[in-house]
């Protein structure tokens, strides 16, 4: 039939591209759908975290028939001796010598010899017994005979009294520091992004403080928020400038500080009139140029501080207080001579040695001066780093313990200059090597100055005249080798 063959031919020829397009579209959609499913499935993988006094661990939550399930063996294995065997539809679990029995497709079970009702059917999958997530707190409590606390929304299970609490306080130093003290050691994953530093705690039972949002009334670190989600806790510290975190006190203290380059943009404190105020730069200025707009020539580190008192110089006199007073006087002198100065601590703050070295190296000064005080002996002792046995640097990366090795010559130049100026002012001076951190971690000329009483009297250490004399000598010594120090930088 010609009338029928032609339209058929015509129809066939005319539909080929349409069908191909449709097939391709279906294929693309299917691929896209599978991709979206897999990606979303990966991103949304539900987790349950369990914290006991001895351990903290995280498990995958599986969704079955619209209900969240977890493998009971996975939950109990880190908590004790556990084994299981399957007998038809029955699943027997032995935990620390006591047997429990579950039946596939049933809600009734016997746990530790007593009847137990699950909120949904027990499932048996490849020999693995799955129980509804909602039943886990009761089951764990029954198995361990211990109180449990379940944060259901965030899927975090606390066994016994395992919570880690924390306090957060901003010290009004320059730069300001947020000090977070935890009741146990923590090791969060840390991520930074513009305006935020995130700390994610997956294995630590960190619990929220009284409020989920902490405000600090400080423009550099205005607030922090706590939230729990998907088996983890997160503390996000907000700030208008990049922040970095450092650990001390065996992992129980995290100190968050604005990066030194960033602090240079903060309005200069009134007490530091000589520090050049940051200039407003035209739009489009590269970020690096902005960061380097103010560069410190000297970093002054008043050693010790906070919980770390240093030497007890007298009944009422701690080394940390003398070093701070002396550092303030030295900064005044340095800035009066136009030497921009960054003080690592301006108050009674605890800072780790690593933190001091990190902040100094990031500030990239020409010289680092670390101040100490002692009641023994007389005069001033100048120390350069005694380098420990360490590894060689690799390419652009320096070994942390011997980072000072490339700067020993310039450190000794500065030491000689300071000794000369102190000698000119009749101050007894001695130059030595010392195994004193963080001198060996500093990537600039680095000196430690230990000030002892001039005439053997302890009161000399607090004497403004003596402090002024030493500060003037140190400043003159640095100024004398200013060009050599600047060249190295």
């Amino acid at each position: 039939m010609p009338w029928s063959s032609r339209p058929w031919t015509h129809q066939r020829c005319g539909n080929r591209p349409t069908q191909r397009t449709a097939l391709a579209a279906i294929f693309c959609l299917a691929t896209l759908f599978a991709f979206v499913l897999s990606v979303s499935g990966f991103a949304d993988e539900k987790r349950l975290s369990v914290y006991s006094g001895a351990t903290g661990y995280s498990l995958t939550v599986r969704e079955k028939n619209g209900t969240d399930y977890v493998g009971l063996l996975e939950v109990l294995q880190p908590l004790g001796s556990v084994s299981s065997r399957t007998d038809g539809r029955s699943w027997k679990l032995n935990y620390n010598g006591s047997e429990s029995e579950f039946t596939s497709g049933k809600t009734q079970a016997r746990v530790q010899g007593q009847a137990f009702d699950l909120p949904a059917n027990f499932l048996l999958e490849n020999g693995d017994g799955l129980v509804p997530l909602r039943s886990v707190p009761s089951l764990v409590s029954r198995f361990l005979w211990a109180p449990v606390n379940f944060h259901e929304a965030s899927r975090r299970l606390f066994i016994g009294n395992t919570a880690i609490h924390f306090t957060a306080q901003v010290n009004r130093t320059n730069p300001p520091t947020l000090v977070m003290n935890f009741t146990s050691a923590v090791n969060p994953m840390i991520a930074t992004e513009p305006g935020k530093l995130r700390m994610v705690f997956t294995r630590e039972p960190v619990v929220p403080p009284g409020s989920q949002t902490l405000t600090f009334d400080n423009p550099a670190i205005p607030s922090a928020t706590f939230q729990e989600n998907n088996g983890a806790a997160e503390i996000a510290v907000n700030g208008p400038v990049p922040l970095f975190a450092s650990f001390s006190n065996d992992g129980r203290t995290i100190t968050i500080t604005p990066a030194p380059q960033a602090t240079a943009h903060a309005p200069a404190p009134v007490a530091q009139p000589a520090v050049p105020a940051p200039q407003a730069l035209p739009p489009g200025t590269p970020q690096e140029a902005v960061a380097n707009a103010v560069q410190y020539f000297v970093v002054v580190d008043a050693s010790h501080g906070g919980e770390e008192r240093g030497a007890a110089l007298g009944d009422q006199l701690a080394e940390k207080d003398v070093t701070l007073a002396f550092a303030q006087r030295l900064r005044q002198q340095l800035q009066a001579r136009g030497l921009t100065t960054l003080m690592l601590r301006e108050g009674d703050t605890t800072m780790s040695l690593d933190q001091r070295a990190n902040m100094t190296n990031q500030a990239r000064p020409a010289i680092y001066i670390c101040l100490h005080a002692t009641s023994q002996g007389s005069g001033v002792r100048l120390y350069t780093a005694l380098l420990p046995a360490g590894a060689e640097g690799r390419g652009p990366f320096l070994d942390w313990t011997t980072a000072q090795s490339g700067f020993r010559a310039v450190s000794q130049t500065a030491e000689t200059s300071l000794a000369t100026e102190l000698g000119k002012r009749q101050v007894v001076v001695r130059s030595l090597l010392a195994p004193l951190r963080p001198l060996n971690n500093i990537t600039a000329a680095a000196l430690a100055i230990e000030v002892a009483p001039s005439g053997g009297k302890l009161a000399d250490l607090n004497s403004p005249a003596y402090q002024q004399l030493v500060a003037e000598s140190v400043t003159a010594g640095i100024e004398a080798v200013r060009d050599q120090l600047g060249e190295k930088r």
């Binding site: 240093g310 005694l386 420990p388 030595l432 195994p435 004193l436 951190r437």
Partner: protein
């Protein structure tokens, strides 16, 4: 009817059992009374066996802030590790003396010295050593230099020294001298030269 000889046997055994119980009870009471006083609770080192040898100790003097070499004759055992321990114990005996030039806190002692890797010595001092140590760069530096130089001079082949406190790593001795790193003996030699 129980035979007479059996009854006598049982009675004798009962008497012996009672007697032994009483004796054991008395001995237990006596042992409790003669418990070691707390001040002697720390381990006592075994008496040193070996010929007396002339050794060099690097002794710290706080007042001028110097380190001086000093000869001493002490009995030294044959083993390298035991010799290392005895050397440092002889040094500490000077510091624990009432008229010491560089006094250490009461109870300070060297727990052990381990010669582990070729050239690496680990000195393990007790907690009292560090807790009772005076804080200050010079005081702590003198202690470290004295220990390391005495050990490296007395035991040939040591080129690195690590100091532990109570078997654990500590950041500083008493707030200043670094104990987190391994000391290079040649670098300490430079420090000692400056301190002499």
């Amino acid at each position: 009817m129980i035979p007479r000889h059996l009854m006598i046997g049982i009675a004798a055994m009962l008497a012996v059992a009672l007697g032994m119980s009483f004796y054991a009870w008395r001995m237990r009471g006596r042992a409790a009374q003669t418990e070691t006083p707390a001040e002697y609770a720390h381990p006592v080192s075994a008496p040193v066996q070996g010929p007396t040898e002339q050794v060099t100790l690097y002794v710290a003097y706080d007042d001028p802030g110097v380190l001086r070499s000093q000869s001493a004759s002490i009995p030294l055992p044959a083993g390298r590790q035991e010799r290392a321990q005895e050397l440092l114990r002889a040094l500490l005996a000077l510091y624990l003396d009432k008229s010491s030039s560089h006094p250490l806190g009461p109870g300070a002692e060297v727990r052990d010295v381990y010669l582990v890797d070729p050239g690496l010595a680990v000195i393990d001092v007790n907690d009292a050593f560090a807790d009772g140590h005076r804080s200050g760069i010079m005081a702590e530096e003198l202690t470290v230099a004295s220990l390391v130089q005495t050990l490296a001079t007395g035991i040939p082949g040591i080129n690195r020294v690590k100091i532990l406190v109570g078997g654990r790593e500590r950041e500083t001795l008493a707030g200043h001298a670094d104990l987190s790193s391994v000391y290079d003996v040649s670098a300490v030699g430079q420090m000692v030269a400056e301190l002499q």
